[in-house]
Symmetry: D2
Subunit: 350 residues, 4 copies
């Protein structure tokens, strides 16, 4: 029985970890940590868990929790884990961090985009970037996992195979992403009110969103050289879901664009055996609704012969594959469990 604790259990991502673990026969949830709601009933905020988790919220004392838990999920603000984690804690407990503290390998990049001091080099060195489909073998048995961002998971999974296979020009990538509002978290901000979000769509963080360097880091690895790209997130009046629409110039060979079949083969080669990636048939575009509540990423593409570009599209549930689901997938890998354990529910529609 794995003893698991969650810090940030009253945020949307933290609560989703609870949803995914609460019925697991092999996992015991021993801590529902929350800075804001410590001492209060967990179900007073999350009535859905009534009769499942009739517990009192604990606090965010990482030191104490690390003595009792086998694994701790931190769904916490930037800087929390980097500031609290010690080597001693690491020696006795595993950590899956849903913040950005350990995602960027280069401290300078982190500090430039986040305006915060980066984690210690030692810890950064130890951390593994937990995009399971790309770094599966590195994750197994590790102690500190940097769970990827929601936009980044969707963007990287959608584009990575074509960059790696050299089918697209790495300098030409443009990512236009659309996200449901749960991605903005559960803090009380005017901008997240129903009447501000509903019946609206807007871009935000244009040319400066913090998920940009994370995408660039992983795609640069695939390209074998540094690349920069445009990433534009948009806020959509829905709860869950991220759709990525990515554009790139296809590289011609002998003056001809690659055939659809060639691109399909590259995707198939990369993801054909993956449990959580569904490659869509020609003519079908990914839709966020068909991934809701699940750990799946749906991927499709269209080649535009007129412009020579490819439009790559990916959809996932930002709270599952984009956060809690991938965190659980990481936990499964860490402990040598079946990677899909507890994650194979079909998406719920409508």
């Amino acid at each position: 029985m794995i003893k698991a604790g969650v810090i940030g259990a009253t945020g949307y991502a933290g609560a989703e970890i609870v949803r995914l673990l609460i019925n697991r026969p092999d996992v015991e949830l021993i801590h529902f940590g929350s800075r804001s709601y410590a001492g209060k009933e967990y179900t007073s905020e999350y009535g859905n868990f009534r009769s499942f988790a009739d517990v009192i919220c604990g606090g965010d004392d990482l030191e104490e929790l690390s003595k009792e838990a086998d694994v701790i999920f931190t769904a916490t603000p930037q800087g929390y884990l980097a500031g609290a984690l010690t080597k001693e804690m690491l020696s006795r407990c595993r950590f899956v961090d849903l913040s950005a503290d350990f995602r960027l390998k280069d401290p300078k990049v982190y500090e430039a985009w986040y305006g915060l001091k980066a984690a210690s080099p030692e810890l950064l060195e130890e951390a593994v970037y937990g995009l399971c489909e790309l770094h599966r073998e590195e994750i197994k048995g590790k102690r500190l996992i940097a769970n990827p961002g929601c936009y980044t998971t969707c963007s990287i999974l959608t584009i990575h195979p074509l960059v790696k296979a050299g089918l697209i020009d790495p300098a030409s990538i443009i990512i236009d992403a659309k996200s449901g509002t749960s991605g903005a978290g559960r803090s009380a901000k005017v901008g997240s009110l129903f009447c501000e979000v509903n019946e609206n769509v807007k871009a935000y963080g244009v040319a400066k969103h913090r998920h940009t360097p994370e995408i660039e880091q992983e795609l640069s690895l695939a390209a074998g050289k540094e690349l920069t790209l445009n990433f534009t997130p948009h806020l959509i009046p829905m709860q869950r879901g991220i759709l990525v629409t990515a554009y790139a110039d296809l590289i011609k060979k002998n003056g001809a664009l690659p055939a659809r079949e060639e691109v399909e083969a590259v995707y198939q080669d990369a993801y054909g055996k993956e449990s959580f990636i569904r490659l869509l048939p020609p003519g079908i575009c990914p839709e966020t609704r068909f991934t809701e509540g699940s750990n799946f990423t749906d991927i499709g593409f269209v080649i535009d012969e007129r412009t020579g570009r490819i439009i790559m599209m990916g959809a996932l549930d930002n709270l599952v594959k984009g956060a809690a689901g991938q965190a659980v997938q990481n936990m499964n890998l860490i402990f040598g469990l079946e990677e899909t354990a507890g994650l194979m529910q079909p998406p719920m529609f409508p």
Copy 2:
């Protein structure tokens, strides 16, 4: 292994049965029947089931299906099953009918409210009204279950204990219900378009909605005498969920209203051991979001000392406890399985 077939698998309720059964180790889904989509890929309509149910839709030939299936779920238009079902089919297969064909015991009442000819008296006699919490013992081992309506399940569960205990005046019941739009089904009607439903709320079927006699039938049984009531459904711009707000005059004893504790005791007595009913603590009102995707019904109430009335409230997911979930619960009871099998996922929020 139970072989199950669904007729009407491309409707919202039918698809929800698929969602609840597709991963069951003890059930095999052998037929995805659909009059409109027969011959087409099931996932072309329900992309969420890609990699779970990559099958071709079958038709609605009940005769053939009843030779292969152990149980058939019919999520079909009024009159379909009553017109197609024979005693021979019943001798070899069990039926859980999600239409209203067998819900009303009195054929005259059926014909008055539905304007259709009632099912044969023999079949009506055989059918059991499948509100599991009220008719559990009758359901076990039966061959033909009339799965209750969505509004009716919520209304009856919310009010039944107080009628039975004689705490409220049966002549005073008023039910004001609010439903998400999936209750209107998946047929292409202008009235169900996004732009017609969104940013709107309206009552419909006022004083003549067909779920009225069904509620009256069950509550009359509880009251031990015929009662009539007001039932007003409303359409809400959301996908899933029904909330019932019901009003009744409390019966005074020695000039005093019953205390909150007394009412609580009655509910507790009725539902304290039920797996799918959650009685909420004082001050907490049911919310549909906290039941979404689950088979739970949440119930709460408020006594208004000023007017002498009680306000009873119940919430559930119309596609689960209000349709597919209860149908599966009925299947579990029929076959002597654990009643909660496959139905204990926590609700999903947000």
Copy 3:
């Protein structure tokens, strides 16, 4: 030219006053007051007013404003105006108060429901309850108008004629109301976040909502005796709109229920000449979408022969007829303008 000021111009109701007045040739908006945003650009919060109101928000200094304005609209928290208003200010400026400070004639009732000290008897005496259709003549030329609540406007207009005509039993009234989320205001509360409101419906303030005594006050006047009633508000995932579904026992004459025509005649008598009330034909239920953005209230009803009750329904836009529109209607009356001035835009759908 009437000089008008708004205190609370950055709330939803205050901003709606701006929308209704900004293009008026006979009104000049001289003050966009806001405690939270004083000193900031008004359009940084309300981008819709770019090029219409490119101004800096002022503060909430009533004393100063009352020296320059002919009329002040206060869309402010409970207690603000009662605490700030003086006879001197009243001597030079008119006030339309959108809070509840002056709505309840009986200070004890106010204090019991609001838990705040009531306004001074002198000011209460001076204030007129500004439900224009009922108190039109009293409003004309007055200095202090208590603009009615949103739920109350809809409830009272829907029920009043039948109480006054003695068609229904005043002791039997039950009001089940549904409101869009703008009614909760623009303050940053977790409960108003998109992900908390969307895909949900719930009752709140059951048996204790503060609009109850306001409805009872006006309907008691109509009944000619004190009445109590049940009022249950619900929160709906939409921005604007209130729908009231009200139930009452029809009073039989010689053992017979009143005919539909008789009820219609009563409504027609009360509202036939009203500009902002639309009586719907038989079979048509009010829908909030058909009032959106307008000052109309749509009213319809159904007689249930089976139970002897009448179901009365009313719909309006909570920010217009339920707040800002009625406030402007009151302003028009105060100053002897055409009552409909600036208020005759058709509702916007979809």
Copy 4:
């Protein structure tokens, strides 16, 4: 008094024309034409117009209507007007066509993208592309206006000045557009049902949407040479609104990107005097909610120094500036009225 008729008055765009004209003192609406609802009450479909347009829907007999009307708006399926319009009708009546029949100057392009026979060369020659800000002078006094598409209006207005000024590489343009669901029209399709659209986002018509050649036509004119571009529309769970996010490579001069001020000057030069275009200050991104119900287009941009691209953003209400509002603006121009007549209401928010 201008006598105006609408064919297609029961569609969303047609009904929006009614909303914009119904209160005009200088326009009389004499015909509410509808193929599907001819002979029925207009308010049975559009309850918002009760007391404004209590009329019976007429049919779609263009011949007859052209004898009585001064101007006819056709909000009709592709091919209707091209098939019905004659020179004789044109000689006595003006036409503003909201379909695509006369938008594309090159019949071959029309036939390739629409799969329909193009209008006669003579009529095509006569038609003016009614994007008012670009073709104002040509429109005045004309008889046949091709009212632009919704996506195209937003896309062209957002990008046109920079193409014309030579600031961006015409070969690099990528348009990622997001639209509310009213753009899909009011026909009863499963794909437009509330439960299919809500909680979802998807791309559609990727690389083949019919608005593409229309955008290319106008931007090619600006560039002075043929260009092709990528246009990807997305369906958003909201009623109204289009947001365009467009990407292009900035052209360097002497190795440097143009400064923000230079781009601003180009936009200012193009639109500084326009009544319906609002150029947003630095740091503000367009949001559809701030244009709702109005004829405005809000435009903003961000220069990404890292990638050398500019991100141009535009927002409008697809039913107003994207359809009916622009149609009325065209009518105003045709008849020599004030261009803004009847179109200066501020947007409605929330």
